[in-house]
Symmetry: C2
Subunit: 597 residues, 2 copies
Amino acid sequence: MPSYKAPVRDGLFILHEVLQIERHAALPGFADLTSDTLAAVLEEGGRFAEEVIQPLNRQGDMQGCTRHADGRVTTPDGFKEAYAQFVAGGWGGLAGDPAFGGQGLPHVVATAFEEYMIAANMAFTMYPMLTQGAIAAIRAVATPAQQRKFIPKMMNGTWTGTMNLTEPHCGTDLGLLRTRAEPEPDGTYRITGTKIFISSGDHDLSENIIHLVLAKLPDAPDNVKGISLFIVPKLLVDDDGNLGARNAVTCGRIEEKMGIHGNATCVMNYEGATGYLIGERDKGLRAMFIMMNAARLGVGVQGLAQSEVSYQNAATYARERLQGRALSGPQNPAGKADPIIVHPDVRRMLMNARAFNEGARALSLWAALRVDLAENAATPEERQAAEDEIGLLTPVIKGYFTDKGYENATNAQQCFGGHGYVREWGMEQFVRDARIALIYEGTNGIQALDLVGRKLPAHGGRALRTWLQTVGTSAAACVADEATRFVGEPLQRALDDLQGATGWLMRNALTKPDNAAAGSMAYLHLMGLVALGHQWALMARAASAALANGAADADFYTHKLAVARYYFSHLICETAVHRARVEAGAAPMMALPAEAF
Amino acid sequence: MPSYKAPVRDGLFILHEVLQIERHAALPGFADLTSDTLAAVLEEGGRFAEEVIQPLNRQGDMQGCTRHADGRVTTPDGFKEAYAQFVAGGWGGLAGDPAFGGQGLPHVVATAFEEYMIAANMAFTMYPMLTQGAIAAIRAVATPAQQRKFIPKMMNGTWTGTMNLTEPHCGTDLGLLRTRAEPEPDGTYRITGTKIFISSGDHDLSENIIHLVLAKLPDAPDNVKGISLFIVPKLLVDDDGNLGARNAVTCGRIEEKMGIHGNATCVMNYEGATGYLIGERDKGLRAMFIMMNAARLGVGVQGLAQSEVSYQNAATYARERLQGRALSGPQNPAGKADPIIVHPDVRRMLMNARAFNEGARALSLWAALRVDLAENAATPEERQAAEDEIGLLTPVIKGYFTDKGYENATNAQQCFGGHGYVREWGMEQFVRDARIALIYEGTNGIQALDLVGRKLPAHGGRALRTWLQTVGTSAAACVADEATRFVGEPLQRALDDLQGATGWLMRNALTKPDNAAAGSMAYLHLMGLVALGHQWALMARAASAALANGAADADFYTHKLAVARYYFSHLICETAVHRARVEAGAAPMMALPAEAF
């Protein structure tokens, strides 16, 4: 059976020593966050994930969700009880606005906890994650009355939420959607259509499910400019918040899929269901993107979390499994064989994952802190700067983290040999679960396009320019210090590659947009490597400072520097090939006629 | 439902125009192989795979194999009938020795057919593939009488074969195995032990199953030098070949696994089963390696085949799925959207797969021709040269092809977006099936070690030296010709990287073997890229010559050159990063103490 230990020590290092969150004590939620409180929250959250949620992960995969003959959907054994504990513990509202009953902690803390939950049980955690996304959309565009009616019960978890975008013939291209919304005299709408791939679409965890649904009004333009957003509750809610009749929305089928079997991925049939318009008519996509952008950061964390939990299990196995001898001579001479962790190729797979996990964790918390700053920093300039950074890094975090998460889960499975391929050890589940994160909330190809097509050119390239300066400053600081020069020099070379690739795009993609799209995935990976390199630079300086100051826990910092060294000796060198691919352009990629495929 | 079309045209191009098999007419089996016969065999084989085997692939995955209460194992619906057709068609003995009832065709033809079978249904094809491996081992070491007794019925498919190596506590390190073989007065042995992960271990396809089992004699050294190889038939066979009593070998369980559900992966319990020693006692590993080396080439072809079939389905989907518009302007203005094949990032995934598939197909057939030459070439020098080449390239074909096969199957699934993640379209099955090929017959890490630890240094580096010269000559020929210079120059740079990495290993790994092991996977991929580059050089020259000669099918050759251009503009540049990883050495990889993981 797989196990999981929440990496609380690593999180505290990042929060205190790298991000130095104490500097942000003026922000709401940060002031009361003493070092002890923070440690207590993460430790309690870690224990909840380890002890309550993780033990249900295998069972959830094997049993899956069930749609009964009467249309009811039930989750795997134990999910309902665990969800009740989640609600009772107030975990859903950790970073929620106290005005709606939330605990008002910073996003950066909630994100640390979110990683633990996903690592423990990704399918389970999708139920509350989608609720968070739905809350974000309602907060962004709904009226105050609508917010008061729906948000508090969603925030405390009594109700859950979903996003309904995809239809059988359209996913990425929402302009094609066919779901209709007919206005009724009472101001509501009758929603009719079929939505597919709806995560958490129906289940038995919560009293009610608040569906956010994209649909078109009869007289709307038949393209992306004619899409409106509706709240469609599973059970109707009266003005006092009491549950009423069943709405005309049903789960038609649970999809058979590769993984995340514990989450009910539903075909949802809307048959004249009552819906409430939120935000302006025909402007629904904007609200959905608010929801989606928050969700994309969460999906990035899914990549990290699956990499972390599969790494932990592979590391344990590699320390325990006896097979063969070290090439440099027996390491376990009393035994009949050495543990396989003595073999460099096993180390390679573990170190690849570890260098990613620690770098990605730092970047995910760095981004979450920007979310706090974008909402609450003192000046508009600071808020805008944070917004720029989040916007730029969101597609990188979603795309790069999930690509690497899948790769690392695959490598962790590989450490088990044949035992990784059979179900018994649970490793193949991590691979199957991790796989979805490259697809949903916009495929990674869409993330790459968003990066090069929208985020780079926005405001004349302001966000990238500022971020490149930030990274360059960190690299220079590392070069200036003997103890971190091994970080600074390769980071500068990687930054050169990123700047070179950016320059090439500026010169070659304006008139030929295919050149941007052809290099977009390579560019995303190049930027991911530099972004993690930046975090490693910050971590290396913090670790080096701690050692210079005689920190008690010297092993932690020495190991941190050792992993940094591996990142800069073995991983970041990949930037050169991504740059070469960007600069190779679209022509060879597009040369064949479509019929030749 | 996924579909499949055997790439016969491409195979004929490789056989006639690249390998020019007509030059080998003096070899047995080649003389009668007119161009028409060859085309007919491949076309008929392709049809058999497409029409008989492929339609069972999804069903086989969904239904899996069943172990009944009485211990019988049955395969998915339709497998038994399809296998009977396979036997009736004589497909199992395609390249078999006519002395044992085989058809005596060259291996190079059988390998082309093997790709079709695996692409159509990997789980099904493992039954006959393992039989081929077992035949190879019996031929290599068994007595003439044993060969006459077992081989003919295995070759015609009436009986099937298995390999029994792995035990619960040992896979890679066979020295640890515990299965015992007690000599009986009649010269047979009583075999007792548990073997796991036995592919095709029990089933209802054939009259009998011939298990090849590694076990230790009571007085044997307790390490790899004390392992003997036994034939243990499921049903005992008398001297006239009649089937007798059930032997004491049973399937204790079918493993629940990630994929290849149509193949029964069994725990096999040997409880004093009657076994027949083949080959010398304590030398069983040598025979098993003969079997394994042939099998490794076959597993490499599994990587290619899964890449090909998933590519074909992704290409079809990309041509048909309408979503979004081309960045360069609508390509399907009459429709509401363009087919997604207009998007460069979709092309990237398709072109990556295609450039691999065509290069890997050429290399797999090139290697199969070497198997023919190693067996039958006129002079000992030619046979040795072919043997050298196979030995060198076997770990590359197994490791590189299966890594890329999994990657390409994952990308093909990605082209489908959410539809790739649900079972309905069959794409996720290709990923799950392809995954095993990185693990069995020696994990890819073991392949990499075999390459740098055994194959490179063998005979003072003779095999590599000769092969590098061969590749260098091809590259130079491409450079000399204006039409193929775009191939020759990047191939020379890639070759420089390979030679540089090799030189580094020679200077740094002799005294520190961890340096070889730490870079072994990067070296394997570097060599894989160069090996495919070599095949692309041969293909580009052939295609360019055909066009210069006014070949009728000009589109085929023009497209071949377009894919070559993509390989050399976008893919082979990766050699630089693999070289950098080799040269980064073991120290950063091994720096952490084992307890720190």
